[in-house]
Symmetry: C3
Subunit: 342 residues, 3 copies
């Protein structure tokens, strides 16, 4: 890309302080800015960098007043962070993958319907009876098994594996090597100590606007569906077991795992490396802190949970403070014991 500072300012409805004819060619963090960079300053924690950055232009809040000399041209806007996000999105449109068409070799079963405007990368496979919507991008080395449905404008990155009967909505993004619809982990113990596989006959349903991270696994239901509601965002290396339901707009960070038949509410935030046992309910708007282990259902919405086993986070943090002072507790007790002996 190449724009003048003036063009950027127009795009953002901003006011210029400095040379409006300068050219910018890339977006950079203010602390990594170079000649040709446009950066932003929103959090005043980073103000110092304004006075040292080599960025050609810096987007700042209208209300911001510099305290020292600076060499960049400023673009004053209502909200610097939002304005910069707009730039990011515009930039992304320019650099986005505009690939279309069907690369060879690839495999499409005759009984499958393929929408207009799709991209299918080489070495990708679409099984029998699939329905692939318009403008879907399926990158390379993807396997889509039989009777899978993918809604318009979804993007499937390289190496994703989708088991049969999976339903994926519109505008979903599934990152590389994620696995959707693998068998639930169900085995019936036998008298001789061995296990018999319980057939997993259900599927996975992913609603619209869902994002799924790289190498994440979502198991199919034993019967019925494992369900990911619209707007859910799941990070890398997350495990979602059979018959789980994730409520809409819930966010799950990397390496967390949710066991079978558990139901997570809407608008929850689950941090990284959290574990949640099976057959429980997590209410709407619950926040679960990193590495927690949730071992039972909670009923109140909007709680913050922490620890393993998880309790209200305040309680957990209070326990942590007491634990750190156990040596003092021990000393106080010894002092009393000694006094009592006297």
């Amino acid at each position: 890309m190449e724009f003048t500072v003036e063009q950027i300012a127009q795009m953002l409805n901003g006011e210029i302080k400095g040379d409006k004819s300068l050219k910018v060619t890339q977006l950079s963090k203010i602390e990594e800015g170079k000649e040709g960079s446009v950066s932003f300053l929103a959090n005043l924690k980073y103000e110092q960098f304004l006075y040292t950055t080599n960025s050609t232009a810096v987007i700042v809040d209208k209300t911001f007043e510099p305290k020292k000399d600076y060499s960049s041209t400023l673009i004053l806007v209502e909200n610097a962070y939002s304005a910069f996000t707009i730039l990011l999105q515009e930039y992304q449109k320019i650099v986005a993958d505009h690939k279309k068409g069907i690369e060879q070799p690839s495999f499409i079963a005759e009984t499958s319907d393929i929408g207009e405007g799709i991209y299918l990368g080489a070495f990708s496979y679409i099984g029998e009876g699939c329905s692939i919507g318009k403008n879907v991008k399926i990158h390379q080395n993807v396997t889509i098994s039989d009777h899978v449905s993918i809604g318009d404008c979804s993007v499937i990155y390289p190496g994703v594996k989708i088991y049969k009967n999976t339903f994926i909505g519109e505008n979903c993004v599934i990152h590389a090597n994620a696995v959707i619809g693998s068998d639930g982990f169900g085995f019936a113990p036998q008298a001789d100590g061995s296990y018999k596989t319980i057939p997993q006959l259900g599927n996975v349903v992913i609603e619209d606007n869902v994002s799924i991270g790289a190498n994440t696994t979502i198991d199919c239901a034993t019967m019925g569906s494992t369900t990911i509601r619209k707007g859910v965002k799941i990070d890398n290396l997350v495990q979602i077991a059979h018959n789980v339901e994730i409520g809409q707009n819930t966010v799950i960070a990397a390496q967390s795992g949710i066991s079978g038949s558990t139901k997570i509410g809407e608008n929850c935030m689950i941090a990284g490396q959290v574990g949640i046992v099976g057959h429980i309910t997590v209410p709407n708007k619950t926040i679960i802190t990193a590495q927690s282990g949730v071992s039972k259902s909670f009923k109140k919405e909007g709680m913050i949970l922490g620890g393993s086993p998880a309790s209200e986070n305040k309680e957990y943090l209070r326990s942590q403070v007491y634990i750190k002072q156990l040596n003092k507790l021990d000393e106080r007790l010894s002092t009393l014991e000694n006094k009592f002996q006297e």
Copy 2:
């Protein structure tokens, strides 16, 4: 599928209460039952659903006595859960993947032996000197490197990567994007702070009837073999390091990790997100609760371990109770201190 209730009852050696001519077309949980569903009721916790379900037929224990009106036809059997499992298995046979033959494009080195009745999906690769048994199913985008052996009737799902010299027994199932035989994590520290790779020359041996989950990784041994004994069931995203041995019929849930050279006994149950350090021994029939960290060998069979570092689970739970009461302990101590001051 479409069966009459009578046909289902005959299959299960059951007795009918209600209309035996009704038709059923799918298996459903009792709480999700629809017209045309056959469901089961085994755990009385779910009894309420019998009185509200829309399932056409419900399989119940012979001894069960309904307490309210219900609208489904009942099928009375010795054990409702077992009977339903039989139905699941019959249903699976009907819907199972009956693919056979070799899809193109695929790659089979001339020096490899391929058994009768196999299915090889498109974009899959079989290297030099491999031996693939009868009726093996290898789905799409699988890589099988040189000198790999796979026993009869095993199923390899899409995207699985198997390194050279791996041995896999009969009736194994390996789910999508699992990696078998990657290098053990071995590096020798050098004087300058860098590391030199220790060559990993061993392999992985997987015995019969083993199931391995999606995106799970099993490293090869430095020398000798990483060994997964018969009947072991491993869930998704599990890490098995070099030279580990897992005893027969042991079950390992998602996101657990076992470090190098550790030996896990037979018939153990390892819950999710457990970590086990290297070079230790876990005895037969050990149960390890979720998120535990096992840091040393145990000797007694059949223990339940919990916590990190893990101890006998009773001890761990007792500590947890005390931790929750630390504020009270502190108050009691303060009370005594005050009394003593008086």
Copy 3:
């Protein structure tokens, strides 16, 4: 391979005690040694095996003095462990994959440069504008997206997926199904509770001599680069988030996760299942014990951290001791309370 004991001894500059004409054909652990094996004894914990092993030859330290009878031929060297490592490396050269050339079908965009002596496995894909160095080995079912650079002699195992604009140095090894350059997990909350994707426009830079484990994920930066410095060794199923920097020669064990924008120093050792929050700094030479959760920056180099939230490991271990004695603390307190009542 087949060598005489004499040839092995010459290779290692060692002295022979026993029959120098015997033939050895494989490397084995001393406890698993067979006729034809050459083994080593470095750690005296394993001395007992010398007196029972069937290994034809055993490499020992010059200074070692046997206390019982043994049947193997000994090879005396300065340092038995180092000598054996040399043997491992020689052996690896013999058994290494000497594949070269471009297998078909594979896909190379016309605008990409491919170095001399490369191996490209079947079903692998190289996008537009890539630069692949000399003697690079790219195994099967690999996807290399547009504008990726890979340095000389690097090895990319089957199923690896590399997103666009990734830079990989020389002599790197990336194990099967790892994902490099997937989108950072960045979403801006909207007023209606939904999330808008923040475009991730940066890349991943991996310097020379880096090793990355199977099914590990490294996200691209929002802007700028996620950076893995030279000599870093990363195990399986590790998550590295956007804009993270890992200092040179740092080692990270399996299933650990590092959140966005965190900076890890040089020569650190991070054990398995560790979690590190975002936007913090871990100093050089820090050791982090397994399952720890690092929640804040530390300043001193060379600390050992443990626990979740992590503190200096000594402190953590002390707390663990106190926790185990909480029942006694409680009893002591009750005793005092009773005495006071009297």
